[in-house]
C-alpha cells in the first residue's frame, strides 16, 4: 500500500504516514483547516489507526471538505449543512466498530447545526467531533458565524454585536467527557489531543481555532493568526502515551497528572496554569468563562472524564456490527409469526 520511500518511518501496523493522507487540498493557501488536516494525519499515523475502520463525516463548508484530504483508506461522507452529527450517529449504530471522525465548521455546528451538536453530545455518540472554528462562514465568503466574538469585525467593517456561542462550555454543560480547545497554529498540543481523542470512547469535542486567511485574518478580527497567537493561553503541556507504550515511558512525578483511557492509554498533563484542574467540571467552566471575558483563548484539555458509556453501550447491542448480522439472526421464525397472528384473532 505504501508509496513512500522504503526508509520512511513506519507505525505499529507497519504503515507509513503516506498511508494516512488523502487527496490534495483545494483550500486557500495558509488556511488553518489544512494545518488541522496535517495533525489528523500525524495523529492517526502515530496512533496506528486502521484506515479501513475509519468513517469520516462532515457537513458543508470549507472545513467540511477536509475529510477528503486525510485517511484515504477510510470511508468518507460529506453530507448536508449542519447535519454531520446525525450521519455519525446512524453509522455508529450500523457498525459500532467504526472509528468515527466528524469534521464541521463553526457555522455548520454552532449556527445551522446547533441542535444536532447538542443532541449528539448529549447521547455521547462515539466520535471525534472537530469544529474548525474561524468565526465566519468561509465557503459563502465570510459572513459572521455564531462563534464570532462580540466586537469582532468583518473585512467590510461590519461589527458583530451578538455574544458568541462557545462549543466547549456548551459541551461540558451537556455532559461531554472529553472537551478540548486548540489552535491550528499549535501542532504539538493539537497532536497530543488528537491522539488522546483516538483512545477515548464517546463524544470528543474539539474546538480548534482555525483562522480563515481569506475572510477573517485582518487586524480587527479576533480570529486572525496574530490575534489568536497573542491570546492563546495553553493550560498545560500534554504528553500522550499509547497503551502499548505505557510500560516503557517514565512519567515524571510531581506536577504531572495522569488520566487513563479505557484502552489503557494515558495522557500526562503537566500544568502550566496550576489552578486549572481538567477533571473538575464546574471549576473548569468557571475558569473558561472568566478567561473568555478577558478575551483569552484557554487551550488544552478543558475537561476530561473517560468513564461515560457511549450511546452504543447504552443500547446494549450485540458485539458484531448490526450491518452484517445474518438473516438467521434477524428474521423471526415462522412460529413467531404464527404466535403473533394468533394473538390478533
Amino acid at each position: 500500500m505504501s508509496t513512500a520511500a522504503p526508509s520512511a518511518p513506519t507505525n505499529r501496523l507497519g504503515l507509513t504516514k503516506q498511508d494516512y493522507v488523502g487527496s490534495k487540498s483545494t483550500l486557500c493557501a495558509g488556511c488553518g483547516h489544512d494545518a488541522i488536516t496535517t495533525q489528523i494525519i500525524n495523529a492517526a499515523f502515530e496512533s496506528g489507526i486502521e484506515g479501513y475502520q475509519v468513517a469520516k463525516f462532515s457537513g458543508i463548508g470549507c472545513s467540511s471538505k477536509t475529510p477528503a484530504y486525510f485517511i484515504n483508506q477510510g470511508w468518507g461522507f460529506n453530507s448536508v449543512h449542519g447535519r454531520m452529527p446525525a450521519m455519525a450517529t446512524g453509522a455508529c449504530l450500523a457498525n459500532k466498530q467504526l472509528i468515527n471522525i466528524g469534521v464541521s465548521g463553526d457555522g455548520d455546528s454552532m449556527s445551522i447545526g446547533t441542535g444536532q451538536f447538542v443532541h449528539a453530545v448529549r447521547r455521547n455518540v462515539p466520535m471525534i467531533y472537530i469544529i474548525e472554528d474561524n468565526g465566519v462562514y468561509g465557503l459563502t465568503k465570510g459572513q459572521f458565524s455564531a462563534t464570532a466574538d462580540k466586537g469582532s469585525s468583518l473585512k467590510s467593517g461590519a461589527v458583530n454585536e451578538l455574544p458568541p456561542i462557545d462549543p466547549c462550555t456548551l459541551a461540558i454543560e451537556l455532559g461531554c467527557g472529553f472537551v478540548a480547545r486548540c489552535f491550528s497554529g499549535n501542532p504539538k498540543q493539537l497532536g497530543a489531543i488528537l491522539k488522546s481523542a483516538f483512545a477515548y470512547r464517546g463524544t470528543v469535542v474539539l474546538d480548534i481555532i482555525s483562522p480563515c486567511v481569506t475572510f477573517n485574518n485582518h487586524d480587527a478580527s479576533t480570529r486572525s493568526y496574530k490575534h489568536v497567537k497573542d491570546h492563546d493561553f495553553p493550560l498545560h503541556d500534554l504528553g500522550f502515551i499509547q497503551y502499548s507504550e505505557v510500560e516503557d515511558v517514565d512519567i515524571a512525578a510531581g506536577q504531572t497528572e495522569l488520566v487513563t483511557f479505557p484502552d489503557g492509554s494515558k495522557v500526562a498533563i503537566k500544568a502550566i496554569r496550576e489552578d486549572y484542574d481538567p477533571t473538575d467540571r464546574w471549576g473548569a467552566m468557571r475558569t473558561i468563562h472568566e478567561s473568555m471575558e478577558k478575551g483569552e483563548f484557554l487551550t488544552g484539555l478543558l475537561y476530561i472524564n473517560p468513564s461515560q458509556p457511549p450511546l452504543t453501550d447504552l443500547l446494549d447491542l450485540v458485539d458484531e456490527p448490526l450491518a452484517t448480522l445474518p438473516e438467521s439472526l434477524l428474521k423471526p421464525s415462522r412460529e413467531v409469526l404464527a404466535e403473533i397472528m394468533a394473538s390478533l384473532t
Partner: protein, 607 residues
Amino acid sequence: MNATPVASPQAQGAKTRINDFSIQVATVNGSGSQTANMVLLRAIFQMGVFVSGKNLFPSNIAGLPTWFTIRASAKGYVARKASNELLILMNPETAKEDIASADPGALVIYDEPLQLDRIREDLHCIPVPFQKLVTASCPEPKLHKLVKNMIYVGVASRVLGVDMEEVRKAIAKQLKGKAKAIEMNQTAATAGYDWAMEHLEDQLGVRVVRDNKTDGLIIIDGNEACALGALFAGCTVVGWYPITPASTLVETFIEYAAEHRKDPATGKATVAIVQMEDELASAGVVLSAGWAGARSMTSTSGPGVSLMSEFIGLGYFVEAPGVFFNVARTGPSTGLPTRTQQSDVELCAKCSHGDTRHINLYPGNMEECFQFAYDAFDLAERFQTPIFVVTDLDLGMQNWSSKPFAYPDKPYDRGKVLNQQQLAEAKDWGRYKDVDGDGICYRTLPGTAGGKGAYFTRGSGHNAYALYSEKPEDYIEVMERLNRKYETSKTYVPAPVIRPMGSSIGVLAFGSSDPAVIEAQDLLAESGLPTDYLRLRALPFTAEVDAFVTEKRVVYVVEQNRDGQMANLFREAYPEHGTKFKSVLHYNGHAIDASTIVDQINAFEQR
C-alpha cells in the same frame, strides 16, 4: 328473548338489515370509550361478521368530542358508509348536532336526561338511565366514567342481537391479562345487557346474525402491520421522531423488537432504535446507517417528510438506502393532524430539490402493509436509494380485518455489495460505475478490510469513481444513470391489481381508497355502468399501468386530496393521454366512501 317483541319504526314495512349496517358512537376523548368501542367491534367480529372500525378523534388528549364508527358488511365492504343505522350518543356536547344529522329511522341509544326524543320523531329512541346502572354495577365512583361506556356496549349488544358471551370474550381479549379490569367491565356490560333485556322490545330493523365470514381472520391496524413487516425484514436501525399518525408504527416495532430481536445466545439487541431530536436527524440516521450497511427506517407524516426533504435528495444522489414510512394525514401545515388524506403523493414521488424521483409503495390493505414493509428493505438495498412506503391515517391507525399474514419466505435481497474478497478480485472498481447496465452500481461498506473499497461519498458532483467533479459530462452521466436505475425498478415494484369488468372506462385508485372503490365499482355495475378498476401499488408506473392507460377511453383517478396529485403524475407520465384523466376527489379529512365516488363518476358520465 323474554321481552315482548314489538317492531321498531324501521321494521314496519322495511326489511331487516342483517349484518349490514353502520354504528356511530359519539363520546368524549380520554373517557376510555376506545376500549368499549373495540369490544363492540370485536364481539360482532366474533359473531363471524365482517366489520371495520374507524375512530374519528380530535388532536387533543382528553375532553373533546370523538366519534367511532363500526361498519358490519355481509358482502365484505369495509369502507366508511355515509349513513348510520345505530347511533350511540354519549357526549352531551354534540348530541343535538348528532341527532340532527341522523338518518330517518335510525336507532338512537342515549343518556336518558338528554331527552333527545323531544327533538325528532322519526327516530327510534332508546333512552338509557346510565347513571343508575353505573351506580348499581360499580362501587368505585372514580371508575364510573369508564364503566359507563361498557354499559352501552351491553345495551347495544342486546339491541343488535350480539351474544353476551362474545362480549365477555371480547373484553377479556381487549384487556389481556388485567383480571380486575376484565371482571369490572364484564359486570358493567352485563348490567347494560340485562337492563336492556328487561326494558327494551326486540327491534327488527338491524340485526347481527351469526355467520362464518371472519373465521381465521385477524384484526390489526396498518401501523402494526408495517411494524411487523419491518421486524421480519430484519430492520436493524431506526431513527424516528414522534408524530401522529405515524408514531405507533415505531412504538409497536419497539414492543415487538424487545421480544423478538434479541440474540438468543447473549440476550443483546440486534436492532438499535433511537428517538432523535427531529425528523432531519432521523433522516440522517436512516441514510448513514443504510450507507454503513444497516437496514434502516423511520416513520413519519407529512410535516416530517418536509423536514427530511434535503436529506432525501442527498440519499437519492449519493445512493444511500433507507426506508421512509409516511403515514399521511390532512395537510398542509398542522392541518387536521388526526384526520386522513392522501395529500403527500407528489411530495413523496419527487421529494427534495433538484431532479429527484423515488420508488413509492402504496399498500392498500393489511397484508400489503406487512408485505410492502418487508419488501421496502429489499428495494432500498437493491436500488441503494430512499424508498417511501406511503400509507395514511385510515390504513395506519384504524382497525381492519385481514387474513393472517403469510410468512415471508423470500430471503433478504442485500443488493450489490462487494465484500473484501470480491474487492480483491474486482478490476477497476468504481463506486458509481454501471457495470451491469441496469443503473445499479456496486457499493462497499465502511469497515471492509483489505485496503480496497474505501470511497468518498459526497452530495456534490461526482464521477464514476466517486471523485469530485463539476464536469458537465460526469454530471449528466450520473443523472442519466439514476434515471436508468429508476427504469430498472419497474420490474421490481409490485404490479397493479386489476378488477376488470370488460369496460372501456377505467377507475384508478391506490392505498386506503380501495374498499370504497370496490364498493363503488359494484354499485356502478349494478346500475348499468361497468368499469375496470386498477389499483396502483407503486411508483414508478409499470408496464401493466401503461397498458391500462392506453386502452381505456377515460380513466377516473380517485384520490383523497384537493389537487388531484396522482392524476398530475399520470398527466406528466402519459402526456399523450393527458385528457383521459378525470379526478374523483375526496379530501374533507374523513375516509372516502363509495357514494362520493359513484356520484362523481355519474356526474362525469352525465347519468
